[in-house]
């Protein structure tokens, strides 16, 4: 197994070796900008670059940009300071700003949630595609670890978000899927099962900032078990969503 990791690392390294040499050039339009020694607010300012000078942007790490000035000085500056710079056409530099508008117009999203399903702890991973601003489909995988069994639930869901523009946007969910139940190893005389299940749910997205939102959900499942009675399961979960 360590060899696989090593190969992945090495193949990534070759990718780095072929990095591009051309960098974006911008001109300072404000009286000056400050260069920090590192990509963070606490790193000391050690240099300033005056209005009119051209700088190269080499890298971006979160909201910090690594710059090289005309005389070769290298340092880091915050996005706010670069927003007043001009590009070679003389226009103001625009950086991709991710805000709530982008969130309400997102096409795809992925997320992880953690919660509780009738006493069993759950971990969910899902991916979603939005057809319209209101309607989306998603595929989710959930592992529920309980005292007596371990369950893997695969679900196909349909979501309706009536108010996609709200910062806290509620939704209704309908879904169907499969639940695979593996009893605990310490229990005897029980075997694996696989059953169909369906659910209805209610939840909400809460936009945080940048590419992130919170998601909370409450679901009622019906497991069409091979026993005579259908099982009724309640589940709640909370997690983080990122979108593209």
């Amino acid at each position: 197994m360590p060899f696989i990791y090593l190969i992945i690392l090495l193949s990534l390294c070759t990718g780095f070796a072929q990095a591009e040499d051309s960098y974006r050039k911008v001109q300072i339009a404000e009286p000056y900008i400050e260069l920090h020694t590192g990509p963070g607010r606490g790193y000391p300012v050690f240099h300033v670059i005056d209005r009119g000078e051209w700088i190269e942007i080499h890298k971006r790490r979160t909201d910090w940009f690594k710059l090289v000035s005309a005389n070769g000085t290298t340092g880091w500056t915050h996005q706010e300071e670069l927003e007043q710079t001009l590009n070679p056409e003389g226009k103001q530099t625009r950086f991709e700003a991710i805000d709530q508008d982008q969130f309400s117009q997102r096409k795809t999203e992925v997320g992880v949630l953690s919660g509780d399903m009738d006493g069993a702890q759950t971990m969910t991973l899902y991916g979603a595609y939005r057809f319209t601003r209101n309607l989306s489909t998603e595929l989710s995988f959930m592992q529920a670890v309980g005292n007596y069994s371990d369950n893997l639930i695969t679900n196909f869901n349909l979501l309706n978000q009536p108010f996609p523009d709200w910062r806290i946007s509620p939704y209704l969910a309908l879904g169907m899927g499969n639940i695979k139940t593996t009893p605990r190893a310490t229990l005897v005389l029980s075997k694996d099962r696989s059953d169909l299940l369906a659910h209805v749910g209610i939840g909400a997205y809460g936009y945080i900032s940048s590419r992130f939102a919170l998601r909370a959900e409450y679901n009622r499942y019906v497991v069409f078990s091979s026993d005579d009675d259908n099982e009724d399961i309640k589940e709640w979960k909370l997690g983080l969503v990122t979108f593209f």
Partner: protein, 216 residues
């Protein structure tokens, strides 16, 4: 007389039309010979893409103390995404092989677990906070970016034939060698419930690891 004038007029018309057509034909053939050609095409300014490096991918090796089963070597891989200069999310996967309990060793022949059940693997998703970002100085001419971070998360551990819901918490030290390479020292507690020895108990499994990551 009238027909003659008519013919003349027609002839004149034909001549004019023909010469006009010829003229346009000549004018057309003249175009490529124009000496000064106004070039209004402007070269589009190509803006180079800014290399964004918010992901961190790497591997680690270390020691994992599996409660009741001694300490074992652990290897794993991690992928982190930095939201901001303060916060990041990390997904990791690790595996180790448990040793034997004191009871198994003292009794001689008793085996609590099969070899396959001794294989431990875990995955988790955690949130980290760079609580003490800073710089480390090596000699007088070199400074490296570092950060001490706190991290906690949730996941699952497969051990002794079952998946077990696992919480993890710990801290780590990130030492950034250059633009793309970082080293990590990590201490983590993996907490899960286990009912192997009769009653259900919460086990603490401490892990100390060191690793390398690449920013991309």
């Amino acid at each position: 007389m009238e027909t003659r004038t008519g013919h003349l007029f027609l002839g004149l018309m034909l001549f004019i039309i023909a010469s006009l057509m010829l003229g346009t034909a000549r004018a057309e053939s003249d175009t490529p010979m124009q000496v000064i050609k106004p070039s209004l095409k402007r070269d589009p300014v190509k803006q180079a893409r800014i290399d964004t490096e918010n992901f961190e991918l790497g591997v680690y090796v270390g020691k994992l103390s599996i409660e009741d089963f001694g300490s074992s070597s652990v290897t794993g891989a991690r992928l982190a995404y930095h939201f901001s200069e303060d916060f990041f999310a990390e997904a990791s996967y690790g595996q180790a092989t448990a040793g034997s309990t004191s009871f198994e060793r003292l009794s001689g022949s008793v085996q609590l677990l099969t070899d396959a059940e001794r294989e431990l693997s875990y995955y988790n998703i955690s949130f980290g906070f760079n609580v003490l970002p800073g710089e480390a100085f090596v000699g007088s001419g070199r400074a490296f970016h570092t950060a001490l971070y706190l991290i906690a998360g949730t996941g699952s551990t497969e051990f002794a034939g079952d998946d077990r819901h696992t919480l993890n918490l710990g801290f780590g030290y990130r030492f950034i060698f250059n633009d793309w390479l970082a080293g990590h020292l990590d201490a983590r507690d993996h907490i899960f419930d286990i009912d192997l020895l009769g009653s259900n108990k919460t086990s603490h499994n401490l892990e100390v690891s060191t690793g390398l990551t690449l920013f991309f």
